[in-house]
């Protein structure tokens, strides 16, 4: 894993000192809120309904155990004993006092963490595949180029005041677990006919009030030239992106209004200029230096099968269910990827207590080669667990309500904080997620329904990714009362699609029944083992709409 060098340490330390002074000047009255707001946002500090909220960056969703322990410590000392893992692989704290945040950031820095690039109109924290370095299908660990992008983008003077925020995601293979086509820039690691590793680049994806799937800009950029290509995209956006209307300022609007071909031409022209200068050609020794941080950990040579693992599934039906739903094959013989669902039945999606974070840190240290991952679906992952150890890990998780065997199932929902916390929300998201998970609590029923991704947002900003849910739910406000609009057919994977709205919105009292109607329509009409999304794509909206509104 990447470790800070002297420059990283100095940069983060200087930033904390700078922010401490800004907070002191705000509290003393030397700065107005208009002056201070952009400064606090550049340090991840928002004002929400009940308190300030601090968003801490977790670059490409990767944590060491000591970092997870620090997150637990922050939750305990500066917050109310919990944190909320987000769809951008970050963590949010809901209750920090403004005047304590500089001390919080000081402590965070001791674990090589910060809140930079988690807010404001800059290039945000780079996200990636939670199975990076552990899954067999990747061409290259996507965290290598993610870290190179992080170093290029952090405090990049040309891109500190962009028209709007800018999000980049990277996947190591075409099987996309990072929702890259819903990002301003989505990057896919590719291999060309000569066997060289490079990158396919998609531009202009995003959600919010105007959702778009990203358009492919280029099939292949050589590894050493990717930063030059990204700089070209950013320059075109910085020059032509709208600054007169924040609703039209994202690059997705520019790509849509400019057209894919013209956008490609503009980017290629800019790329040619930057490339000719060679200023952004990444030296091979630097690529090698960063790659070394992500070299495979010290795996033991083990047999592919584990009798201990197999027998434990025979002896414990609940463990067998956990394996079926939450455990994924590892590229290394004798190891497994263990997913930790943060979606207990009736729980708050993405929330973890300080105690749970400490437990996960211990499990990572003792059983996962010191690594934890955060997923954009608001779960956690122990990426490198020996098959022989999976049962012990499961037992420890189960003792702390972390062993719900529902990954990818109907109760594994994404939900934004919604009106329970968020200043922008129109409706609550979390209670709805809780009611849905309780309605479908029976795991046998969940397995029968199969893969089904419900995503809930409390407003059109779509932090809960409702546009790309197989079933999306959007909370709307009608004269101070909550209503919920359903969309169907969205997808966030390599077949990314924007869902279509079914029709009029449902009341708070009716929405869970409506979701059940959608699900039973699917189970009545599916063919054999067809997934929900495949049934929807085969039959379209009509049968669902008919049952919802007749």
């Amino acid at each position: 894993m990447y470790r800070y060098d002297e420059f990283d340490h100095q940069l983060v330390a200087d930033r904390v000192i700078q922010f401490r002074g800004q907070v002191e000047r705000r509290v003393s009255g030397a700065l107005t809120e208009d002056q201070f707001k952009p400064l606090r946002l550049m340090n991840g500090v928002y004002l929400q309904l009940h308190a300030y909220m601090l968003r801490v960056a977790i670059p490409y969703g990767t944590l060491r155990s000591e970092q997870m322990r620090m997150l637990a410590h922050i939750a305990r000392k500066y917050d109310r004993g919990y944190g909320h893992f987000t769809t951008r692989q970050n963590i949010q704290y809901n209750w920090p006092a403004l005047d304590k945040i500089p001390d919080l950031l000081d402590e965070l820095a001791t674990a090589e963490m910060h809140a930079i690039q988690t807010s404001g109109n800059c290039i945000r924290n780079v996200t990636s595949d939670q199975y990076a370095g552990a899954i067999a299908d990747e061409l290259e660990d996507p965290r290598i180029i993610s870290e190179i992008i992080r170093q290029w983008s952090t405090f990049h003077p040309e891109f500190t005041y962009l028209p709007r925020k800018f999000k980049i995601a990277v996947t190591g293979h075409e099987n996309d677990r990072a929702a890259i086509k819903l990002h301003d820039i989505g990057i896919v690691v590719k291999q060309n006919s000569a066997g060289e590793i490079g990158y396919e680049v998609h531009v202009g994806g995003g959600q919010g009030r105007t959702p778009f799937v990203a358009k492919k800009m280029t099939d292949f950029v050589p590894k050493e030239k990717l930063l030059a290509y990204l700089e070209a995209v950013m320059r075109v956006y910085n020059m032509l992106g709208r600054r007169d209307n924040s609703y039209k300022a994202r690059i997705k609007i520019l790509v849509h209004e400019t057209g894919q071909e013209e956008m490609q031409r503009l980017v290629e022209a800019e790329f040619a200029k930057i490339d000719a200068s060679e200023m952004l050609t990444v030296p091979q020794e630097e690529i090698d230096r960063i790659s070394a941080y992500f070299a495979p950990p010290a795996f033991e040579t083990l047999p592919a099968e584990s009798e201990t693992f197999t027998q434990a599934q025979v002896d414990d039906a609940n463990f067998a269910r956990f394996v079926r739903a939450n455990v994924v094959a590892h590229k290394q013989a004798g190891y497994a990827i263990v997913n930790i669902s943060l979606k207990p039945i009736g729980g708050v999606p993405g929330d973890a207590t300080d105690t749970q974070m400490d437990v996960i840190a211990d499990l990572a240290e003792n059983h996962s080669l010191d690594e934890v991952r955060v997923t954009h679906e608001q779960n956690l992952v122990l990426p490198h667990v020996k098959l022989d150890d999976v049962k012990a890990v499961y037992d420890a998780l189960a003792a702390h309500e972390l062993a719900t065997a529902n990954l990818g199932l109907i109760s594994d929902q994404i939900a934004c904080p919604g009106l329970d916390y968020c200043n922008l929300a129109n409706a609550r998201s979390i209670p709805l997620a809780q009611e849905i998970s309780e309605r479908f609590a029976d795991l046998d029923r969940q397995y029968d329904i199969g893969e089904l991704k419900i995503k809930i947002s409390g407003c059109i900003n779509a932090c809960g990714h409702h546009h790309v849910g197989h079933i999306g739910i959007l909370g709307v406000d009608k004269k101070g009362t909550e209503f919920y609009q359903i969309s169907l057919g969205g997808a966030a994977d390599e077949n990314a699609a924007i869902g279509q709205i079914t029709g009029r919105a449902f009341t708070e009292e009716d929405i869970v029944d409506a979701i059940e109607t959608v699900v039973t329509t699917y189970t009545d009409l599916r063919a054999d083992d067809e997934r929900f999304i495949d049934t929807y794509n085969r039959l379209g909206m009509a049968p669902f709409k008919e049952r919802l509104y007749d």
Binding site: L49, H50, W95, L98, D99, N426, R428, P431, G480
Partner: protein, 106 residues
């Protein structure tokens, strides 16, 4: 930011967030910011609401609070309550964590 000073609202109060910790506060009838909604001054009519907001925003208000605004309240017997779900949640705390927010100490 969504606000709920609905047109035609008869009763309104003023709320903000405290600068130091973001706590939800209300302008009270003894001309100070308080944490409890029950102590909020209620304005009857649009003119009274405008006057209330003006009193809550003296020249130095930014040294104490962020973004004061009017919101609609409704009569509830001999009491008042926020009209919107949003302001009800601000006055109490998250509906999914009854152990947190103002409701926790109630």
């Amino acid at each position: 930011m969504a606000q709920h000073a609905a047109k035609g609202a008869r009763f309104q109060a003023v709320t903000a967030n405290r600068l130091s910790d973001g706590e939800v506060v209300y302008w009270s009838d003894d001309n100070r910011w308080v944490e409890g909604f029950t102590k909020a001054e209620i304005a009857d009519g649009a003119d009274a609401a405008d006057a209330l907001l003006a009193r809550a925003m003296p020249a130095d208000f930014e040294a104490h609070v962020l973004e004061p605004y009017l919101f609609e309240v409704l009569e509830d017997g001999s009491f008042y309550k926020p009209a919107s779900v949003r302001e009800t949640i601000r006055a109490a705390g998250p509906t999914v964590r009854l152990d947190l927010g103002k409701q926790a100490g109630a």
